[in-house]
């Protein structure tokens, strides 16, 4: 995969032209999108115009920074002025954004080129990207399988070079799950640290906006650019020394229902971190087994409110599975929603306690490799389990808690399907989390 970090110096020096880079991405889209269905809208003309303008500006000595002239994509629930925001649904097929989302504006101000809007699980209400009004997204490592979701098209775009980076959203794992399933990096920011203005919500209290990228350094570069200039930390970070880092490892709910290959590879990676000097200690989330019920009631309550009107006025425009789940969501009682809010606060506190005395928590990003499209269950230790439950199992705790979390590739199954390692950091210390991830990425690369 071509990285932004490696490409940007070439653009700065004029050896690489943004126009050529953009044409390459558009060619990859033309070649692969008929099979993988990663893009809903391709903005080729606008992208080429932006790229030519970037080349002119850079040649004139007015380079803005490392994202200047870099082709990116946006999950199609993020507004880009003048372009449809479908949220993967025919309910919004006639919508055209009147202005940029805050994150789009920040990337535009950083000089990025936008090649298009990526496909997703309809309204981000699912983890496989197969229920979209525009057809299912397919995994580039095996097109019979899901790329994960809901930011499935975004992950596919980066994994295949259709764009060099992308912005997605994560309500229960929708950045980290597809990043793991497609073998790329996904960074879920701390809740509220990146603006969600101009982004179609699923659950405003759980939605997180963040980057998916080919490397940890690229993810950081994009994450940094999504902030106000006054809040940006810097375009690059150094890897933390592994010797001295302390990681917390879960037992119980977050490790007892894993695919055998995922479990083996994540254990090997944790052992590698220890061999390189890191300390690993056992930590716990006492209410981990309640998380799915907490999450369900919150997302259902929030989604039911957002979709109440269109479920009545345009029910036929939803995919059937998403419509039925939204209809089911309307039966959540207020008293149960409040119980779930209390549980959410409890989980946030327990994640803080798990982080006491460690730099980051370490666990799989995804309990299983990418599942076959249409699969209802997958085999894991202890017997078959529902795909939806398995997809969310390792990621949703940190949507409830709001802690920053990153998924990075840590190997593949014997069948060649990617496996993701997840690191979870302290609130207010995202740079330290990314520095730990840079160190882990380096160690994994050295042994691959």
């Amino acid at each position: 995969m071509k990285t932004i970090t490696e490409t940007a110096p070439g653009i700065a020096s004029g050896k690489i032209k943004s126009e050529q880079l953009t044409e390459d991405c558009l060619a990859r889209i033309a070649e692969l999108n008929p099979t993988l269905n990663a893009f809903i809208t391709v903005t080729a003309d606008e992208a080429l115009q932006q790229a030519r303008h970037a080349d002119q500006e850079i040649a004139a000595g007015r380079r803005i920074g490392p994202l200047h002239g870099i082709p990116l994509s946006l999950k199609d629930l993020i507004d880009q002025k003048g372009v449809p925001t479908t949220a993967g649904s025919l309910v919004r097929k006639d919508h055209v954004a009147g202005c940029d989302a805050v994150v789009t504006r920040r990337l535009r101000e950083a000089g990025a080129v936008f090649v298009g809007k990526t496909n997703l699980h309809e309204f981000a209400f699912g983890t496989t990207s197969e229920d979209s009004g525009f057809g299912p997204v397919r995994n580039p490592h095996d097109p019979s399988r899901s790329p994960g979701g809901s930011s499935g098209g975004s992950a596919v775009a980066v994994a295949t070079g259709m764009s060099l980076g992308t912005i997605g959203t994560d309500t229960g794992g929708s950045i980290r799950i597809p990043a793991a399933a497609c073998g790329i990096v996904g960074l879920k920011a701390e809740w509220g640290h990146i603006s969600a203005a101009g982004v179609v919500p699923l659950s405003r209290q759980l939605d997180h906006v963040g980057p998916l990228a080919a490397s940890v350094a690229d993810a950081w570069l994009l994450y940094n650019a999504l902030h106000k200039p006054s809040e940006q930390v810097g375009d690059a970070l150094d890897a933390a020394p592994l010797d001295g880092l302390r990681f917390g490892r879960f037992s119980g709910y977050l490790s007892d229902r894993l695919d055998a290959d995922v479990e083996h590879r994540v254990r090997e990676t944790i052992a590698l971190l220890q061999q390189r000097g890191a300390t690993v200690v056992d930590v716990a989330l006492p209410h981990a087994e309640d998380m799915a019920a907490i999450y369900l009631h919150l997302v259902f309550g929030d989604a039911a409110e957002y979709h109440a009107r269109t479920l009545v006025s345009r029910p036929q425009d939803y995919t059937t599975p998403v419509r039925l789940r939204l209809e089911m969501a309307r039966y959540v009682l207020a008293e149960d929603y409040i119980r779930a809010l209390r549980g959410k606060a409890l989980i946030a506190n327990e994640v803080d306690r798990a982080l006491d005395g460690v730099d980051a928590l370490v666990l799989p990003s995804l309990a299983i490799p990418a599942p076959p499209l249409g699969a209802a269950t997958m085999p894991v230790k202890g017997g078959p389990e529902a795909v939806r439950s398995l997809m969310l199992r390792c990621t949703q705790p940190f949507n409830l808690s709001g802690h920053p979390a990153i998924s990075l590739p840590c190997g593949r199954t014997p069948a060649g399907l990617p496996i993701g390692l997840q690191l979870v950091g302290h609130k207010g210390r995202t740079p330290a989390l990314v520095q730990a991830a840079l160190a882990a990425e380096l160690a994994i690369a050295e042994t691959s």
Binding site: G192, Y331, L341, R342, L346, K427
Partner: protein, 68 residues
């Protein structure tokens, strides 16, 4: 409303609205709701739902507020 009463009413409503496919799905939601209601943090509803969680000082509900 207890869960059995809620489930019966919800299933009848789904049937009346022409959504019989929802009926088996509502059983799954009922199981999740049962789990939620049995959770130990519900044992003392007198406590403030947020202050009761933190041992010191209460939760800062402003943390993570989306910025523009």
């Amino acid at each position: 409303m207890n869960i059995a009463e809620w489930l019966e009413a919800a299933k009848a409503d789904a049937e009346a609205r022409g959504l019989p496919e929802l009926i088996p799905m509502l059983d799954g939601l009922a199981q999740a709701t049962e789990r939620l209601r049995k959770a130990d943090w519900n044992d003392n509803a007198e406590q403030d739902p947020f202050d009761s969680i933190e041992s010191e000082g209460g939760l800062d509900l402003s943390q993570g507020k989306p910025s523009q």
